[in-house]
């Protein structure tokens, strides 16, 4: 029956709706705590002064950008393997958030680079591979929007996401290789002074905060995608079918 086929998204829709506020709340609380620790509690770096504090945003953003790409590729792969539409919708919903974190990582990297290296942009290995990651996110999203047929858009961008995930590590190592060839050992962000425990703690809290934020935003976006695609009822008016689905769980 058709109902059984639609059941996954239809059951998922209200569930996602109830989860969003929780993830959002945790994200906000952790972000406040993490930023407070990063900006006020963590000790001043004796080499870089106060400017280093941007890494409390930069490093978690960079981690999330890569993590989300892998998660997107996994959903895409599951979608291809099991022919599950919800998976494709998840992949679609993840891409913009991942791209946002990539951009944030680049922006904060530039902000950190100006006082540290004296230039807004240097061809540092990490920054360069982040830039290429941003291109890949752009590729996934542009490929999807250029194809009108939904089924093909899903599958084509899934194939590209999967190809990209094989490439991300290769690109990362090749850029690092290239970097050492041209510049010798450059100033790198993680090395240098040993990280204080509070710094590490703040960074971890920020990472979890970003993670929770991603989940909240992605769930909200996947709900929009569902409404768009399945002609599901919108946010406010939920008819009986959906309540049934919730109770059936």
């Amino acid at each position: 029956m058709i109902w059984s086929k639609y059941s996954a998204p239809q059951a998922f829709y209200p569930l996602a709706g109830r989860l969003i506020p929780w993830f959002a709340a945790v994200a906000i609380i952790l972000m406040v705590v993490g930023l407070y620790m990063g900006f006020f509690v963590a000790p001043t770096d004796f080499q870089q002064g106060e400017s280093y504090r941007i890494i409390f945003v930069h490093v978690p953003a960079a981690w999330m950008s890569m993590f989300l790409y892998v998660v997107m590729a996994i959903w895409a792969g599951v979608g291809m393997g099991l022919n599950a539409r919800l998976s494709f919708m998840m992949a679609q919903a993840i891409a913009p958030t991942g791209a946002m974190f990539t951009f944030l990582a680049l922006l904060t990297g530039a902000m950190w680079g100006k006082p540290t290296w004296g230039a807004w942009w240097v061809w540092d290995a990490r920054l360069t591979s982040e830039l290429i990651l941003l291109f890949q996110y752009a590729g996934v999203m542009l490929l999807r929007t250029s194809i009108d047929d939904l089924r093909r858009a899903d599958r084509s961008s899934a194939v590209f996401a999967l190809v990209g995930v094989v490439n991300v590590p290769i690109i990362y190592y090749s850029v690092q290789w290239w970097n050492t060839l041209h510049q010798g050992a450059s100033v790198s962000m993680a090395t240098g002074s040993k990280m204080a425990a509070t710094m590490l703690m703040a960074m971890l809290i920020m990472t979890i905060a970003f993670w929770m934020y991603s989940i909240a935003v992605i769930l909200a976006r996947v709900r929009c995608v569902m409404v768009e695609r399945e002609s599901l009822p919108t946010w406010d008016d939920k008819p009986a079918v959906i309540h049934e689905a919730v109770e059936a769980r």
């Binding site: 599958r155 084509s156 290789w177 290239w178």
Partner: protein, 227 residues
């Protein structure tokens, strides 16, 4: 499935593509001219200083090779897609990824091999000397098939999509980064006297990896495009 009919199918594809390329030799000639023109533009833009030209030569030649391959990508699958041969290809009782390998091989012979053969001449224009020229040719010989393999994935993904020419560039160019780095790096390091072996073997590794993975991804993309 017998090996002989598999070989019939693959060699049939290669033969037909090469025959078509001979009938339409102007297509291949255009790629070659494009390469020569792009490479010749750089001295005009940068200035004729031999030392500068020698420094930028590996990068310029490699970027030009990359762009040449990119421009020829629309010829890999699009004609077959438009005249229905691609449908027939998908329905051949052989693994599609092997047929794709045949297509890509033919594409490389038509558009990659001329680049490799022409490269020593272009290298001379930039004042590269004996060993660096050899490494340049070798790096292109190892690298351009990888470019064709990766490019085929992009070409298959954008089949019949509006604005496909620009889109394929956006998809494929980021994936070309490692090949560019190792290829140009091989020439640069041989010029610096540290030898290009490490970069060349990394290029070889890229080629092997793409031979295993790219036909499979391309086949998946082709099936999606034909649904």
């Amino acid at each position: 499935m017998s090996h002989s009919s598999m070989w019939d199918s693959i060699s049939g594809i290669i033969q037909r593509d090469l025959l078509l390329a001979m009938r339409r030799w102007s297509d291949a000639a255009m790629s070659v001219f494009f390469l020569v023109i792009v490479v010749s533009l750089f001295p005009l833009g940068v200035g004729p200083e031999p030392a500068v030209l020698r420094t930028i030569a590996p990068g310029v030649l490699w970027v030009a090779a990359l762009l040449t391959c990119l421009l020829s990508l629309s010829r890999v699958f699009t004609p077959d897609y438009l005249d229905g041969v691609l449908e027939q290809m998908v329905l051949v009782p052989q693994p599609l990824s092997l047929l794709v390998l045949g297509k890509v091989l033919a594409h490389w012979v038509i558009s990659g091999l001329p680049v490799v053969l022409l490269s020593p001449l272009l290298g001379l224009q930039f004042g590269l000397d004996g060993e660096a020229l050899g490494v340049l040719v070798l790096s292109l010989l190892l690298g351009t098939p990888t470019l064709s393999m990766i490019g085929a994935i992009g070409a298959a993904l954008v089949l019949g999509v509006r604005g496909s020419g620009l889109l394929v560039a956006l998809l494929v160019l980021p994936l070309y980064v490692p090949v560019l780095i190792f290829g140009a790096g091989a020439v640069t390091s041989s010029m610096a006297g540290i030898g290009g072996e490490a970069n060349l073997s990394l290029l070889g590794a890229c080629l092997v990896l793409s031979l295993f993975l790219a036909p499979w991804a391309t086949a998946a993309a082709l099936r999606v495009a034909l649904e």
